[in-house]
C-alpha cells in the first residue's frame, strides 16, 4: 500500500464528510423513489395490464361500433322497425304537451319543498334531541321542565322564504304539515307523469328490443355502454371471492376481457403496428367457451377451481399462474385444460355441454377403461362391480350369521318358555321367539334382494381381456408364446400391452396358462361359407367395434380387436360358439367355493348340466355362479349356420399358416407351471384376464384416483430427477424412436419436472425411469408399454392431471341427486358396451359406422340416431326391447323394430341393474318425467278415421311406401319401422313433433319434412286433402297420430291393399331420399296405383 501523506490538520476534527453525505443522500433518495415505484407498479404489474386494456379495448370498441352501427342501420331499414318507430313518434307527440306541463309543476314543487325542508329539518332535529333528553332524564322534575321547554319550542314561529320571494310564518306543527303536503303533491304528479309517459317508454323499449333481437352482435348503444365503462375504469384489483369455498381469484385483474359480452381475440387486441399478439393481447381475450361460463357462473366457481394457478397472486404472471416451485397447483397447460373438468366431474363418463363433447377428457376417461388401465390401477368410479359384489357377499354372509344366531336364540327362548314358572312369563318368552322368527323372515327377504343384486353384478362384471381358462379350446398353442413376446408385432392396434417379457418368463407364463386351462371338448362345427360370412361380417355391424385390415386399409372401430390375423390363432369350433354367443361359458365359476363347476358337480346333485342366466345357482351351495364370459361382446342372434359362415370367413384372415408357428411343446412342462404362476401374479395378468387360480387377485398398480395431487416428490423420476429439473440438451431420457413419437409435446427440450412431464414420459415409455438403474427381474418396473399415440397420451395425462383431491367443498363435486344422475350413470353403460359405435347420442357425434364407405350412399341403412330416444319411446317398451331386441322369443334372427336394416341390434344380455339404468338414462337425457304415465289417445270417430286414412294413404305422402308392414315382399325395400309397433313403442306427442319436422329431431333422416304446414294456428297437410277435411279445425297431425296409434293389422293390410300394394312398381331405389313433398314428386311416386 503506498504511504499516505500525513495531513496537516487533525483529520478527526477537520475532515469534511460533505461529499459522502451528498452521495449517500442521493442514493437514499433514489432507493426511496425506487421503493415507491416498486410498491405501486413493480409489485402491481396488473396496473400496466389494466392501462393497456383501457387503450386497446376502447380502440377495438370504436371499430366494433362502426360495424355495429352499419348493421343497426340495416335493421332499422326493416319496415317492422319503421312501424315501431312511427308508433313511438306518435306516442311521443301525444304525450309531449302534458309531459312538459307536469315536469314544470314538479320543478316548482321541488323548489318549494327545498325551502320548507331547510327550515323544517333543522327544527325537527332540535325537537328530537330534546325528546331524547326527556326520555333519558332520571328525575321526574327534570323531565317535566324539559317537556315544558319542548312544548314552548313547538309553539315558536319561524319564517319560510319561498323561491318566488314571498314569506310565510309557521309554527312546528304547521311546518310539518306543510312539508308533508308538498311532498305528497309531488309524488302524485310524478305518478301522473309516469302514466303519461308509459306509452312512450313502452314504444321505446320495443324499438330497442327489436334491434337487440335482430342484430347478431351488440348494438351501438350497448357498445357505447362498454366503452364508457372502460374509459371510466380506475385501476383496481378485480376479485372473485367465494367465502364458502375459500376461493379468492384475482385473475380478472389482468384477464379483463374474459367476461365481456363481445368476442375478443388476440388479433383484435394487438397494439397498433405490432405483428404478433404480445402478452397483453394474449391476456385480454374473452373466454373461449362462454357457454361453460354460463353453467359455471364465475361468481360462484371462480377461475382456479377449473384452471388452477394461484388465484390470489398478483405480483407477477408466473406467480399468478402458479408456475413456480412452491405452488402445488400450477395452471393447467392449454392442451390439458380439460383436466379441470375432472376435479369435479370424476363421476361422469362423458362430459358434454350443449352440443359439444369435451373430447380430450372424454377420451382420457374412455381410454382408462378401454385400454385396461383399470386392470391394475384402482380409480374411484371405474370397474365398481367387483367391489360392489364383494360388499354384497359380505352383507349376505353377515345376514346369514344373524339368521343362525336368531334361530338359536329363538330355540333357546322356547326352551325357557317351556320351563317358565308362570304362564305370563311363558307367553312373553314365546312372543319374543315369534318376533325373532319374523325378523328372520325379513332377513330372508333382504338376502333374496342381495342375491338378485349379486346376480346382476356378476352379469355386469367385465374383463378387458379374454378369458384365458379357454386357451386350450380357443387358441393355436404355438401362437401363444409368439403373442406374449410382443403383442403389437402380431396386431399393432391390440389393447394387450407389451410387457417386455424375457423368453423364460414367456415360456413359464404360457405353460401355466396352458396347463391350467379347461380341457373340456367343444361340439364340432360344420364348415361354413366364407363368402357369405364376409357379407355378414361387413353388414351385421361387427365393424362398429372390430376392425379389419392393416395400416391404411384398416376399416372399422377401435373398440374391439382387429381381426386381420385371427385365422392364425383361433380354433374354428370355439370361434363359431363365440360368434354365436360370446357370453357362453365353458364352465360356470363359483366365487363362493372359488372353483369352476363341472358336469360332475351337477351330476352329484342329480341336476342337468345347465347353466345360464336363469340357472345361475351353484349346485353345491346355492350361491350365484358366474355363468357368462366376462366380455362385453354381445350376441348378434345369428343362426348357427351364419355363425359358422362368419367364423369360416374369419379363419381365412391370416398372413401365415397356423402350422408355421414354431413348436411350443415346453408348454406342457409341468415344472414351468409354478414359475409361470409367479410371473402371472407379478405382472398382474389377472387384472384384465380371467385366469384359473387368479379369480380373486387384486390390482397390482397404485391407485390413481388422486394421482394428480400427489406431491411431486412422490413421483419417482429416479436417475432423471436432475435432468427433468434442469432441462437443457439432454433433457429427454427416451431414446427409442417409437416411444419418442408418443410424447404429445415431442422430445423434452426444457425442464419437465412436473406431473405432466412425469405422466407423459411414463405413458410413452413406462420403463423409462428404470434407465441406468440396476434392478433384478422382479424389481424392475412392471407397467407395460400400452403403445398409445401422442393424442391418447395427452388425453390420459389430462385425466391424471385432473385426478385431484380438491379442497373445494363437497357441494362443488358434480353429484346430482335428480335425473341428471341417471344421465351420469347411463353414460358409463353406454360407453361400456360401445353403443356410440352405432348410435348417435349427441348431435354432431360421429359413430364408427357413419365413417364407413359402405354407408356413404345408403345413410338410411345406418342404425337409428338416439338423440331423443327417451322422448320417443315408452320406457317399459324400451326395457323390453333392450333385453331382447328381436322383440320375439321364437324368431330371434332379426331386428325387432327395423327388420329392413342389415346391421343388427345385438342382444347385450344386460342385467336388470343396467336395464334400469339405461332406460332411466334415455328418459333423463330427453327430460322425461319419471315414472312414465302413458298418454291416452282419444278414440277416433268413423268420420275421423276415414279422414285420417286418407292422409295415411295420401299419394302425396304414402306412408306405407317406406314403412314396413310385415309383408316380407314389401319389407325388403322398406326403410322405416312398422306402424303396428307404434302403440306400444312410441309416445304420441313425440310422434306429432316427428311428423311435423323429422329433420330437427334426427338430422339426415329419410323421413320427409314439410308434410304439414301451419295455417291459421292449425297444422294442415301439405298435400291435397279430400273434401271431407273442409271445416275440420283440428290439427291434421294429431288426427294422423291418433290414427296410427289405433292402427290394427287388418286396417294396415286394407290400406296397403287399397294403395295397390304393388311393391314391384315402386322403385326400390332409395325411396326415402325425397326430402320434400311436391305435387309432381307424389304424382310420380304413386303413378302405378292410379
Amino acid at each position: 500500500m503506498p504511504e499516505q501523506p500525513v495531513p496537516e490538520q487533525d483529520p478527526i476534527v477537520t475532515k469534511s464528510y460533505a461529499l459522502h453525505y451528498v452521495v449517500a443522500m442521493v442514493l437514499l433518495m433514489i432507493t426511496l423513489f425506487w421503493a415507491l415505484w416498486d410498491e405501486s407498479f413493480g409489485q402491481r404489474p396488473w396496473k400496466a395490464f389494466q392501462q393497456q386494456w383501457k387503450d386497446r379495448y376502447t380502440a377495438f370498441l370504436k371499430t366494433a361500433k362502426s360495424t355495429s352501427a352499419q348493421s343497426e342501420k340495416q335493421v332499422e331499414q326493416n319496415p317492422d322497425y319503421q312501424q315501431l318507430q312511427q308508433t313511438y313518434e306518435q306516442a311521443y307527440q301525444q304525450a309531449k304537451p302534458r309531459r312538459d306541463e307536469l315536469q314544470k309543476q314538479i320543478t316548482d314543487l321541488s323548489a318549494k319543498i327545498l325551502a320548507v325542508q331547510n327550515v323544517f329539518t333543522d327544527k325537527r332535529a332540535y325537537a328530537n334531541a330534546l325528546t331524547y333528553e326527556i326520555e333519558t332524564d332520571p328525575s321526574a322534575s327534570g323531565k317535566d321542565s324539559k317537556k315544558k321547554d319542548l312544548a314552548d319550542y313547538k309553539q315558536k314561529v319561524w319564517t319560510v322564504e319561498y323561491p318566488d320571494g314571498h314569506k310565510e310564518k309557521y309554527n312546528y306543527a304547521q311546518l310539518e304539515e306543510k312539508y308533508n303536503e308538498l311532498k305528497d303533491e309531488r309524488t302524485r304528479i310524478s305518478a301522473e307523469l309516469g302514466d303519461v309517459l308509459k306509452p312512450v317508454t313502452e314504444a321505446n323499449t320495443k324499438m330497442s328490443t327489436y334491434i337487440a333481437d335482430h342484430m347478431v352482435d351488440l348494438t351501438p348503444t350497448q357498445i357505447d355502454g362498454l366503452r364508457k365503462k372502460t374509459e371510466e375504469w380506475d385501476p383496481k384489483i378485480v376479485q372473485i371471492n367465494v367465502a364458502d369455498a375459500n376461493i379468492v381469484d384475482r385473475c380478472e385483474s389482468c384477464h379483463m376481457g374474459v367476461r365481456e359480452p363481445i368476442k375478443i381475440t388476440p388479433a383484435v387486441m394487438m397494439a397498433r403496428g405490432e405483428k404478433k399478439p404480445d402478452e397483453y393481447a394474449q391476456a385480454f381475450v374473452s373466454h373461449t367457451e362462454p357457454e361453460l361460463l354460463q353453467i359455471h357462473d364465475p361468481d360462484k366457481f371462480g377461475c382456479s377451481p377449473c384452471h388452477q394457478g394461484n388465484g390470489r397472486a398478483t405480483t407477477s404472471v408466473e406467480k399468478a399462474h402458479g408456475n413456480y416451485e412452491h405452488w402445488l397447483w400450477p395452471l393447467f397447460a392449454k392442451e390439458n385444460v380439460q383436466a379441470g373438468c375432472q376435479t369435479c366431474h370424476a363421476a361422469d363418463m362423458v362430459l358434454a355441454s350443449g352440443g359439444t363433447e369435451w373430447q380430450t377428457i372424454n377420451d382420457g376417461k374412455d381410454l382408462f377403461r378401454q385400454r385396461g388401465c383399470v386392470g391394475c390401477h384402482r380409480y374411484e368410479g371405474y370397474d365398481k362391480e367387483p367391489e360392489d359384489l364383494n360388499s354384497v357377499s359380505q352383507q349376505i354372509k353377515q345376514l346369514e350369521q344373524q339368521k343362525t344366531q336368531n334361530a338359536k336364540v329363538g330355540a333357546d327362548l322356547m326352551k325357557q318358555a317351556d320351563a317358565a314358572a308362570s304362564n305370563d312369563e311363558a307367553n312373553q318368552l314365546n312372543e319374543q321367539a315369534v318376533a325373532l322368527r319374523v325378523v328372520n323372515s325379513k332377513l330372508d327377504g333382504r338376502i333374496q334382494q342381495l342375491d338378485f343384486q349379486s346376480h346382476s353384478l356378476m352379469q355386469d362384471m367385465k374383463k378387458v381381456g379374454p378369458n384365458l381358462k379357454d386357451v386350450r379350446l380357443k387358441l393355436n398353442k404355438n401362437w401363444i408364446p409368439v403373442w406374449l413376446k410382443k403383442p403389437t408385432d402380431f396386431r399393432p392396434t391390440t389393447k394387450m400391452p407389451n410387457f417386455r417379457l424375457n423368453d423364460h418368463q414367456i415360456q413359464a407364463i404360457s405353460a401355466y396358462l396352458w396347463q391350467s386351462a379347461f380341457t373340456d371338448s367343444l361340439p364340432k362345427q360344420k364348415p361354413g361359407n366364407a363368402e357369405h360370412g364376409k357379407e355378414l361380417f361387413e353388414s351385421r355391424g361387427c365393424l362398429a367395434c372390430h376392425s379389419i385390415g392393416e395400416g391404411d386399409q384398416i376399416q372399422g372401430g377401435t373398440f374391439a380387436a382387429n381381426l386381420t390375423r385371427v385365422g392364425e390363432k383361433a380354433n374354428y369350433d370355439y370361434l363359431v360358439r363365440w360368434i354365436h354367443n360370446a357370453r357362453e361359458r365353458t364352465r360356470p365359476y363359483c366365487p363362493y367355493e372359488k372353483k369352476d363347476i363341472g358336469p360332475e358337480d351337477y351330476a352329484k346333485k342329480g341336476l342337468p348340466y345347465q347353466f345360464d342366466l336363469q340357472h345361475s345357482q351353484c349346485p353345491n351351495d346355492g350361491h350365484e355362479l358366474q355363468v357368462q364370459n366376462m366380455t362385453v361382446m354381445p350376441s348378434l342372434r345369428l343362426s348357427p349356420e351364419d355363425a359358422q359362415d362368419v367364423a369360416s370367413y374369419l379363419l381365412t384372415q391370416k398372413k401365415q399358416e397356423p402350422s408355421s408357428y414354431a413348436d411350443a411343446s415346453f408348454m406342457d412342462d409341468s415344472k414351468l407351471k409354478d414359475e409361470g404362476k409367479k410371473w402371472i401374479r407379478h405382472f398382474g395378468c389377472a387384472g384384465c384376464h380371467e385366469i384359473s387360480g387368479f379369480e380373486d387377485e387384486g390390482r397390482i398398480g397404485t391407485e390413481l384416483t388422486y394421482e394428480g395431487s400427489k406431491p411431486i416428490e412422490r413421483l419417482d423420476f429416479a436417475l432423471f430427477t436432475e435432468t427433468a429439473q434442469r432441462g437443457g440438451k439432454n433433457a429427454e431420457p427416451i431414446t427409442n424412436p417409437e416411444d419418442l413419437q408418443r410424447l404429445p409435446e415431442g422430445p423434452a427440450k426444457s425442464e419437465w419436472y412436473d406431473h405432466k412431464g412425469f405422466f407423459e414420459h411414463k405413458l410413452a415409455e413406462p420403463e423409462v425411469y428404470d434407465k441406468g438403474k440396476i434392478k433384478s427381474e422382479t424389481e424392475a418396473l412392471r407397467m407395460p408399454n400400452v403403445h398409445l399415440s401422442a393424442d391418447q397420451i395427452r388425453a390420459l395425462t389430462t385425466l391424471l392431471l385432473g385426478s385431484q383431491e380438491t379442497s373445494l367443498p363437497a357441494s362443488y363435486q358434480y353429484k346430482p341427486g335428480d335425473s341428471r344422475r341417471d344421465i351420469q350413470e347411463g353414460w358409463w353403460i353406454v360407453k361400456k358396451y360401445n353403443c356410440m359405435g352405432c348410435h348417435q347420442f349427441i348431435p354432431g357425434q360421429r359413430t364408427t359406422l357413419m365413417g364407413m364407405k359402405r354407408y356413404q350412399d345408403i345413410q338410411e341403412q345406418l342404425p337409428p340416431k338416439l338423440l331423443t330416444e327417451g322422448a320417443r319411446v315408452d320406457p317399459e317398451w324400451l326395457r323390453r326391447f333392450l333385453s331382447n331386441p328381436s322383440l320375439s322369443t321364437t324368431d330371434t334372427n332379426r331386428n325387432g323394430v327395423r327388420p329392413y336394416l342389415q346391421v343388427r341390434m345385438p342382444t347385450f344380455s344386460f342385467s336388470d341393474n343396467e336395464l334400469r339404468k339405461l332406460v332411466r338414462f334415455f328418459q333423463a337425457l330427453s327430460q322425461q318425467p319419471i315414472p312414465y304415465i302413458p298418454e291416452q289417445v282419444p278414440t277416433l270417430t268413423s268420420k275421423e278415421s276415414d279422414m285420417a286414412r286418407s292422409l295415411f294413404s295420401s299419394t302425396a305422402a304414402p306412408c306405407l311406401k317406406c314403412h314396413a308392414t310385415g309383408d316380407p315382399q314389401h319389407d325388403k325395400i322398406a326403410t322405416a319401422p312398422n306402424f303396428l309397433l307404434a302403440r306400444e313403442r312410441l309416445k304420441p306427442d313425440w310422434v306429432e313433433r316427428w311428423i311435423v319436422d323429422p329433420q330437427a329431431i334426427s338430422p339426415g333422416t329419410s323421413m320427409p319434412s314439410g308434410l304439414f304446414k301451419k295455417e291459421n294456428n292449425q297444422w294442415v297437410f301439405a298435400g291435397p286433402t279430400p273434401p271431407s277435411f273442409q271445416g275440420y279445425n283440428q290439427d291434421h297431425t294429431k288426427l294422423l297420430v291418433n290414427y296410427i296409434f289405433q292402427l290394427t293389422p287388418e286396417e294396415q293390410r286394407r290400406v296397403a291393399a287399397s294403395m295397390g300394394r304393388s311393391s314391384a312398381s315402386i322403385s326400390p331405389a332409395r325411396p326415402g331420399r325425397h326430402a320434400q313433398v311436391t305435387p309432381s314428386n307424389s304424382a310420380a311416386g304413386s303413378g302405378g296405383s292410379r
Binding site: 500525513v6 495531513p7 496537516e8 487533525d10 483529520p11 478527526i12 476534527v13 464528510y17 459522502h20 453525505y21 449517500a24 443522500m25 442514493l27 437514499l28 432507493t31 426511496l32 425506487w34 421503493a35 416498486d38 413493480g42 405480483t315 412452491h326 405452488w327 402445488l328 406431491p711 416428490e713 412422490r714 429416479a718 436417475l719 430427477t721 436432475e722 434442469r726
Partner: protein, 309 residues
C-alpha cells in the same frame, strides 16, 4: 463439478446473507487486524518514549502538535455513525426491493422438505445436532453459550484495549473470540448452508444434491470400539473419557495459559480462572467431537440413559 448446483445454492434468496457474510467477515477481520497492528506499533513506540506519551494525540499518524487527544462524540463520532446508518438503510432497501422473502408451499404434514433447514442464523445449532444428542446440542450447549457470553465481563480482568483495536494487549480474548465465533459458529453455518444436502448428507461444493444418493456409513459409539456392552460400564467408561478430557485438557490448557498469559493468570481469582477453563474446554470439546464423528464415525462417547455425549 456441478456449477449449476453451486449456483442454485448460492443464489437462493435464503442464502444471500451467508454469501454476503463471507467477504464481509474477511474484510472486517482484515480491517481490524490492520488497525490493531498500527495501534500496537504506536503503543510500542510510546512505551519507549514516555515524554512523547504524555503529549501524543493517540492517533496512528506521526506526532503533530495541536492535534486533539480527545474529541466530542457529537459531532465527530455521530456524523460517521449516521453516515453508516444511511448506507445500511440503502443496502437494506435495495435488498428488500430486489429479493422477496421466499414463501413456500402450504405445509403438508405428510411431506417434509428435504433438506429441512433452519433459518441461516440457526444453522450452526442444527449442525451441532449431528454431533450430540438433541438434549445436549439443543439445550445444554446453547445455554452454556449464553451463560459463557454473560460471564465474559466478570472473567475478563484485562483493563487494556478498550476503545481501540489491539492484538498484543488482548491476544487471549481475541484469539478465543476468533475461534469461538469464526471457526465454530460461522464455519458451522457455512457447512449447514453449502455442504449439507438432501438427507443432511455431506456434499462437497459442486457435488450434485442427488435425492437418491446412497452412501455407506456406520456410526459407532466409542465404548463399542472397546467392546464394552453393559450399560453401566458404558456410562462409567464415558464418564471417565469425558472427565479425562477435562482433566488432561485442563492441565495442558493451564500450562499454555500460564506460559503465554502470565499477567492475566496473575490477575485472576481461582473462581474466575476455573470458570474460564471450563468454558474454554467445553468450547474445544465441540471441534474435538466433530473430528471424532467426521473422521472416525464415532457417534457418542458417553452413553447414559438420560443423555449422550
Amino acid at each position: 463439478m456441478d456449477w449449476r448446483q453451486l449456483w442454485e445454492i448460492v443464489s437462493a434468496p435464503d442464502n444471500v446473507p451467508i454469501v454476503g457474510l463471507i467477504p464481509l467477515l474477511i474484510f472486517y477481520i482484515y480491517l481490524a487486524w490492520k488497525q490493531a497492528k498500527a495501534n500496537d506499533d504506536l503503543i510500542a513506540e510510546l512505551e519507549t518514549n514516555p515524554a512523547m506519551a504524555k503529549t501524543h494525540h493517540r492517533k496512528t499518524w506521526p506526532f503533530r502538535p495541536g492535534w486533539q487527544k480527545e474529541v466530542h462524540v457529537w459531532p465527530f463520532l455521530l456524523r460517521i455513525e449516521f453516515l453508516a446508518a444511511m448506507i445500511v438503510s440503502i443496502v437494506l432497501m435495495v435488498w428488500s426491493i430486489t429479493l422477496s422473502a421466499p414463501l413456500e408451499e402450504p405445509s403438508n404434514p405428510n411431506l417434509t422438505m428435504n433438506p429441512a433447514k433452519a433459518p441461516w442464523y440457526f444453522l450452526g445449532l442444527q449442525e451441532m445436532l449431528v454431533y450430540f444428542d438433541p438434549w445436549i446440542a439443543g439445550v445444554v450447549m446453547p445455554t452454556l453459550i449464553i451463560i459463557g457470553l454473560m460471564a465474559i465481563p466478570y472473567i475478563d480482568t484485562n483493563p487494556l484495549g478498550s476503545g481501540y483495536y489491539t492484538w498484543k494487549q488482548r491476544k487471549f480474548s481475541i484469539g478465543t473470540f476468533l475461534f469461538g465465533f469464526i471457526v465454530l459458529w460461522v464455519a458451522m453455518i457455512i457447512i449447514g448452508t453449502f455442504i449439507r444436502g438432501p438427507g443432511w448428507q455431506w456434499f462437497w461444493p459442486g457435488q450434485t444434491w442427488d435425492h437418491n444418493r446412497l452412501i455407506y456409513e456406520v456410526n459407532r459409539d466409542l465404548p463399542d470400539l472397546f467392546g464394552i456392552t453393559s450399560n453401566l460400564a458404558k456410562a462409567i467408561f464415558g464418564a471417565i473419557v469425558v472427565g479425562g478430557f477435562y482433566v488432561i485438557g485442563g492441565f495442558i490448557m493451564h500450562a499454555l495459559f500460564r506460559r503465554y498469559n502470565p499477567k492475566d493468570y496473575k490477575r485472576m481469582s481461582l473462581l474466575q480462572y476455573s470458570i474460564m477453563m471450563f468454558f474454554v474446554l467445553s468450547m474445544v470439546a465441540l471441534p474435538a467431537k466433530m473430528l471424532l464423528r467426521l473422521a472416525w464415525h464415532i457417534k457418542y462417547v458417553w452413553i447414559t440413559p438420560w443423555f449422550n455425549v
